[in-house]
Amino acid sequence: MSNGTLNNTSNVNKIMAAATLVITIAVLLMYKALPIEYQGARTTFGKGLGITALALALFSMLYSLRRIHMKYRWGKLEAWLQIHIYTGLLALLFALIHSNWRFQPGAATTALILLFLTDLSGIVGWVIYIYAPSAMSERDGEKYGSPDEIYARMDKIRQSIETLEHRIAKAGNSDEEMMSEISSGEEELKVLDHDLKIAMRREEMIGIWLNVHIPISAAFIVVASVHGFVTFYL
């Protein structure tokens, strides 16, 4: 929270960005420096890159595990997200060099395409994460408020309806004014229920890309594993 702003670039982000850059340059230089006969996917160097790419992708997927387990001290989720992003990008780099820029039909190319699509959807998500929140914030016209806010308003209305119903039941007769208050409260609840659904849908929109990202990444792991199995055991 320096300089009185909320803008925050975490240290993990900076470290990961720098490390990714260094690793990218180092691997590319190494690749360029190698004689052509050592550059193929089937060479030791190539296989090493392939295994590293799969390991990075698997490590990147640990983010989902961390995301679900919230009560354990496994490190800040913010740091995990940064690690997830950069290891995902590095996995693609390693896989590309592993392919030696040759794309023949088969499990290897399919895995590479899936990894590319995973990263692409991830980058789309990253961009959404950066720009969508400010677009959704109130200053830019968050008409409905957050679902929690709508819940809170609904709760208040429900409580006052209950109080009125309780009073009517106690008095034993129905007061017209109270009845009209109850019916207007119920009307308002219907409107809020509608708003709530819209607000929830709006909030879910921000994560809709995950419906593409998660299945593709799962498919990548399956295909990449098949490719690895075929390479080593068949």
């Binding site: 929270m1 009185g4 702003t5 909320l6 925050n8 975490s10 995301r67 919230m70 009560k71 001290r73 800040k76 989720l77 913010e78 995990w80 997200l81 994460y129 969508a132 929140p133 400010s134 959704m136 914030s137 109130e138 200053r139 408020g145 957050s146 679902p147 929690d148 806010e149 819940y151 809170a152 609904m154 429900r158 409580q159 309806i161 209950e162 609840l189 229920d193 709530l196 659904k197 929830m200 909030e203 879910e204 921000i206 994560g207 995950l210 419906n211 998660i214």
Partner: protein, 482 residues
């Protein structure tokens, strides 16, 4: 027999096993303390289990300034030193108390933090009287009450005058003389203490609570400053003469020490050092006021911080809406950490891009603590927590003026789970059915205490983009909310 921490009833029981003392009972034992000599034996027997014998070695601290405690002490043997620390001076000795003296009366009476540190000067044996026993003693015995109240009043004034940096160099006799001329005044939340345009007739030292300095009312209100205990106001008009140039309004229940203008003028004439210090402070305050009057955002933040009670908080939990993904991780993490019942909601006061979710402010004057079931207490650090005695009636939630205590229906917790990223919709359509259930049926009262018993603050720790943050009120006033 070695005296150790045990209540007087147990101690009496142990002594009674010695044949010579077999007629001793707790009432007789307590009755030998001169402070309690007018109190009935039956009453003393009743309170004996709530009175604990404590032994402090030389240099050991009995209670620290600023910590919350609600016990009262009687000195049976030994000496203790009462001291305060201020920003300017870490140790100002106020008094040495000896056998038959008492201390610690302020915290249980005013339900506030200890105002001084008490340290044993030699091996001190004390009786620690619990709050309930102390209050019932004071209520039932007028002679005890008179003595406590007289000392309470004198000590308040002496401590307060000493704690103000302005008077730090004044000789003891001047403070003592001033003490007899000042008045102690109390105001409720919202009371106007100083009205703009009124004739300046006094200087106020804040004993406890918060005030805001403002110009205008309602939507036109502009808050220039908030002041808390240990600070003072009313000095500008006194120094320059003339009328008050702003309103001063109580933000919480407040206790003030009032120094009349003629006494104050006499004082600054005799002690030019006080006047010099005051002139520097006035110049600084005038500069701050000018800055705020030219900076609308800062003024708006100041008003927001005062109106929402943020100024009372030690730390503030906020969500940056320009970064927040609305993924609900904060609420889910909170629920996961607290038995499935989330203590925060992504709702609350908003200022620009900043959302302040429902978080306990640990108010100076907490209305939630008027719980008849003993379901809520303040720990010695001043933080307020629910206890196991809480019956989840929701009384505290209704009393909290900031709406920071939540009542969660047992079934509601299902809604916060797995809504994202797996596309769950919660139980939105069941809301109407839920409403038909009686209000009192199966609910849980919770409040965010920033995970005081956890190794991390769950929502902050589990926010994927760092939108959920904890800052201090001072940082809040400095940050840009636009």
């Amino acid at each position: 027999m070695e005296i150790s921490d045990k209540n007087v009833a147990e101690f009496a029981q142990e002594i009674a096993q010695i044949p010579f003392f077999n007629d001793l009972d707790p009432g007789v034992l307590l009755g030998r303390v001169s402070f309690l000599k007018d109190v009935d034996r039956e009453f003393l027997e009743e309170i004996a289990p709530k009175c604990i014998l404590r032994v402090f070695q030389q240099g050991e601290v009995v209670c620290h300034q600023g910590e919350y405690g609600n016990t009262f002490y009687l000195i049976l043997k030994g000496k203790v030193e009462v001291s305060v620390r201020t920003q300017e001076n870490p140790h100002i000795a106020l008094a040495v108390l000896e056998q038959e003296d008492f201390f610690g009366e302020y915290a249980p009476l005013a339900e506030t933090a200890r105002t001084a540190t008490v340290t044993a000067l030699d091996r001190a044996i004390l009786i620690e009287v619990g709050k309930e026993a102390f209050l019932s003693l004071r209520d039932n015995y007028p002679s005890v009450k008179d003595r406590i109240d007289k000392v309470y009043f004198e000590r308040i004034l002496a401590t307060q005058l000493r704690k103000i940096g302005l008077f730090q160099d004044l000789p003891n006799e001047v403070i003592e003389a001033l003490k007899d001329k000042v008045e102690l005044e109390e105001f409720d939340r919202g009371d106007v203490i100083i009205k703009m345009g009124d004739r300046a007739d006094s200087l106020y030292l804040i004993r406890s609570g918060f005030v805001k300095v403002r110009i205008g009312e309602g939507d036109d209100e502009k808050v220039f400053a908030y002041l808390k205990d240990g600070s003072y106001f009313g000095e500008m008009s006194l120094l320059h003469g003339g009328e008050r140039n702003a309103d001063v309004v109580a933000v919480t229940r407040i206790e003030l020490v009032k120094i009349h203008s003629e006494d104050f003028v006499n004082l600054i004439e005799k002690f030019p050092g006080v006047k010099e210090r005051l002139e520097l402070i006035v110049a600084q305050r005038e500069e701050d006021t000018k800055e705020i009057s030219e900076d609308d955002e800062r003024a708006r933040k100041m008003k927001f911080a005062v109106d929402t009670g943020l100024v009372q908080a030690g730390r503030i939990l906020l969500i940056d809406l320009d970064t927040c993904l609305r993924c609900n991780s904060c609420v889910e993490a909170c629920a996961a950490t607290h038995d499935g019942f989330p203590r925060i909601q992504r709702t609350g006061q908003k200022l620009g891009r900043v959302l302040l979710p429902t978080t306990c402010l640990h108010c100076t004057d907490p209305e939630c603590m008027l719980c008849p079931h003993g379901g809520i207490y303040r720990d010695k650090d001043g933080e307020i927590h629910h206890t196991v005695q809480c019956i989840h009636c929701g009384g505290c939630a209704r009393r909290c003026p900031y709406g920071n205590i939540l009542i969660i229906k047992i079934d509601d917790k299902k809604q916060s789970r797995l809504r994202w990223p797996f596309g769950g919709k919660g139980k939105v359509s069941d809301q109407a059915e839920e409403a038909k259930k009686p209000l009192s049926a199966r609910q849980r009262v919770v409040k965010c205490d920033m995970c005081f018993d956890q190794p991390f603050i769950a929502c902050v720790y589990n926010c994927p983009v760092g939108a959920c943050r904890v800052i201090t009120p001072e940082q809040f006033l400095e940050l840009s909310t636009e």
